[in-house]
């Protein structure tokens, strides 16, 4: 079976391997230059140390010289679906469209063994390729993460455990769609659509709700933001900000309209806005997930996508077992 699986899927594996290899090497080369900006390693510029002169200079150069690559990394959101769907779509669909399922399942290898071997091998390749690529991106992003945290979409979605889970999800959708539609290309399309829809929905709706966000409030300081007196500091850039705004003295949150009315009133009175707000007991609030929840959130999101992938693979197994091809 090993030889057969390799012979049947080597084109996909080689193309994807080449893709991961090329982008990976490119990122390693550029990334090592970016890392060189931080002689002691980027982690030394994390937190308060980031305000030191050397770190500020390094971060500025990083932004100027490599910021554009960071923006390009957004394209790699699609890497998991390309890998997973490209390997999953033909697994059954190609056999069904060419009629070779009748050849494959009438040899002495029982179909469930055939299916188990194929699913295991191709899922393993999916995870390995995505994992490798994620490792490179995670390393590449180290200096950027020091600066921006890992909770933003351009970090969280391409680092850690979730890309491999996304890829398995795409693999599951593509395999199941291929079994039902009996065509590789439409199966690939379905996987692509499902991937974009699921990813967007989960990232924007489900992810913020994995845990109850923390809320920090602080009275507006008369002298502006630098005059920090509160015992509960505002979240840092590494935290994931969900909501931010103003509340009145009783803690009732102000709508944007109410805030602008206050601002207009301050302008009409010719007063300094901060002093004006301070005098009225207005406080600023932040709703956020602290940066140390990163791995918890990664685990939860990975589990969600892997669970869906498992259900889809279950559908495939059920169809093949029940012989409804």
């Amino acid at each position: 079976m090993t030889w057969l699986i390799w012979r049947q899927h080597r084109t996909e594996v080689c193309v994807l391997g080449l893709l991961v290899g090329l982008f990976g090497v490119g990122l390693l080369v550029l990334g090592s230059q970016a890392h060189d900006l931080f002689p002691g390693g980027p982690v030394r510029c994390a937190g308060d140390a980031g305000t030191s002169e050397a770190c500020t200079a390094a971060l500025r150069r990083l932004d100027e010289e490599y910021g554009y690559i960071e923006n390009l990394l957004a394209a790699f959101y699609l890497m998991p679906v390309v890998i997973g769907a490209f390997l999953g779509a033909p697994l059954l669909a190609r056999e069904l469209e060419d009629g070779t399922w009748q050849l494959a399942w009438t040899q002495a290898v029982p179909r469930m063994r055939w299916l188990a071997a194929k699913l295991a091998a191709l899922a393993a390749v999916t995870v390995a390729l995505t994992g490798l690529f994620t490792a490179v991106i995670t390393w590449f992003r180290q200096p950027f993460d020091v600066w921006e945290g890992r909770f933003q979409y351009d970090a969280f979605d391409v680092e850690g455990l979730v890309p491999a889970a996304y890829a398995l999800f795409a693999f599951g959708v593509a395999t199941a769609a291929g079994a039902i539609l009996r065509r590789s290309l439409p199966a690939f399309g379905v996987a692509f659509g499902a991937f974009l829809a699921a990813r967007m929905a989960v990232a924007s709706l489900a992810r913020p709700a994995y845990a109850t966000p923390l809320t920090a409030t602080e009275p507006v300081a008369a002298g502006g933001a630098t005059d920090q007196t509160g015992s509960r500091p505002a979240p840092t850039v590494a935290d994931w900000m969900i909501d931010n705004g103003y509340a009145d003295a009783t803690g009732r949150r102000l709508t944007t309209l109410e805030y602008y009315e206050l601002k207009d009133a301050a302008d009409r009175a010719g007063a300094n806005l901060n002093q004006f707000l301070h005098a009225r007991g207005i406080q600023e609030y932040w709703v956020y997930h602290p940066a140390d929840r990163f791995w918890t959130f990664q685990l939860i999101e990975a589990a969600v996508f892997i669970a869906v992938a498992a259900v889809l693979i279950g559908v495939v197994v059920w169809r093949v077992r029940r012989r409804i091809m």
Binding site: M1, W3, L4, R7, Q8, D98, G99, T100, W101, Q102, L103, A104, W105, T106, Q107, A108, V109, P110, R111, R322, R323, M325
Partner: protein, 299 residues
């Protein structure tokens, strides 16, 4: 007779798809050895039946037993005793012929590589060509060589020659019959072409509208049936349900009867019937439940 002397036994087999029954109440006992033809028009349920015989489809009702084993179990042992050549003889188009043989070796318990190579060499099919670049006839031969190299006890072929030109068709049947002559293998194949069957087959199963309408040993069937020609008559002709078909011309009535050779009524002439006419007469009959007529070994 013990169970293993049957190549194939089906009991009340039916297959239901979403749009209805493709096959109903199919009960067959086919002996091991020899060549069995499954005949019927397109859409009669031949492919469905064959796919159930090789374990590709699960029956909705009834049981299928091949060589004494329930095929739905699909163990490597039962699978390796059945060779299957699907319609349009699918191959992995991008594999070379040698790789197709390697596929056979990798996925079978007993695969006779030398036998396959010998057959392909005799036919002049190069091992380094990609399967997809071979002619239709050559692809069919590769698929057949692959199925025969399994050294199956039952070889099932679905419309093996339907897509081939007359020359390739003849060559294919020659190879197939050569393999049968070497012995040990029972062949079950489907066809919607009726002529030439007599030369090739020992057994016949006629399938129409998802039901078996006739099954039996060909020699026995031909001996049991005959044509009676007499003056035109419109009266009730059925003698104990023996009339299969009545055809009236201006002056004569021709009856196809299954009476086992009873003496003809006065004024009627008896003639033997050709296999093709026999099959066509059964295919023309309106389908009705329980109309299956079987004879031969099962009787």
């Amino acid at each position: 007779m013990t169970a293993t002397e049957f190549a194939l036994r089906t009991d009340g087999v039916g297959k239901r798809y979403r749009k209805g029954w493709a096959l109903r109440d199919c009960t067959l006992d086919l002996p091991a050895g020899g060549v069995i033809a499954l005949v019927g028009p397109n859409g009669a349920g031949k492919t469905t039946l064959l796919r159930m015989v090789v374990g590709l489809l699960a029956p909705s009702t009834g049981t299928v037993e091949v060589l004494g084993h329930d095929v739905t179990a699909s163990t490597p042992q039962t699978l390796s005793r059945i060779g299957f050549l699907a319609q349009d003889h699918p191959l992995y188009k991008r594999f070379t012929v040698a790789e197709m043989l390697r596929f056979g070796r990798a996925t079978n318990l007993r695969f006779d590589q030398a036998l396959a190579e010998r057959r392909l060499a005799t036919l002049g099919i190069p091992l380094d060509r990609r399967a997809g670049t071979l002619s239709g006839g050559q692809q069919a031969q590769v698929a057949l060589a692959l199925a025969l190299a399994k050294r199956p006890d039952l070889l099932v072929l679905d419309e093996p020659v339907a897509s081939l030109d007359p020359l390739a068709r003849r060559e294919f049947l020659q190879v197939l019959m050569g393999a049968v002559a070497e012995g040990g293998v029972t062949v079950l194949f489907s066809s919607h072409v009726v002529h030439e069957l007599e030369r090739v087959c020992d057994h016949l199963v006629v399938l129409n509208h998802g039901r078996v309408t006739l099954a039996g040993d060909i020699d026995t069937l031909l001996a049991e049936h005959r044509l009676l020609v007499g003056p035109r008559t419109a009266t009730d002709l059925d003698r104990a349900g023996a009339v299969v078909e009545a055809v009236h011309s201006d002056r004569h009535t021709t009856l196809l009867v299954r009476d086992g050779g009873l003496p003809a009524a006065p004024g009627w002439q008896a003639q033997p019937v050709a296999l093709e006419d026999l099959v066509l007469a059964y295919l023309r009959r309106p389908s009705e439940p329980g109309a299956a007529v079987t004879s031969g070994v099962a009787a």
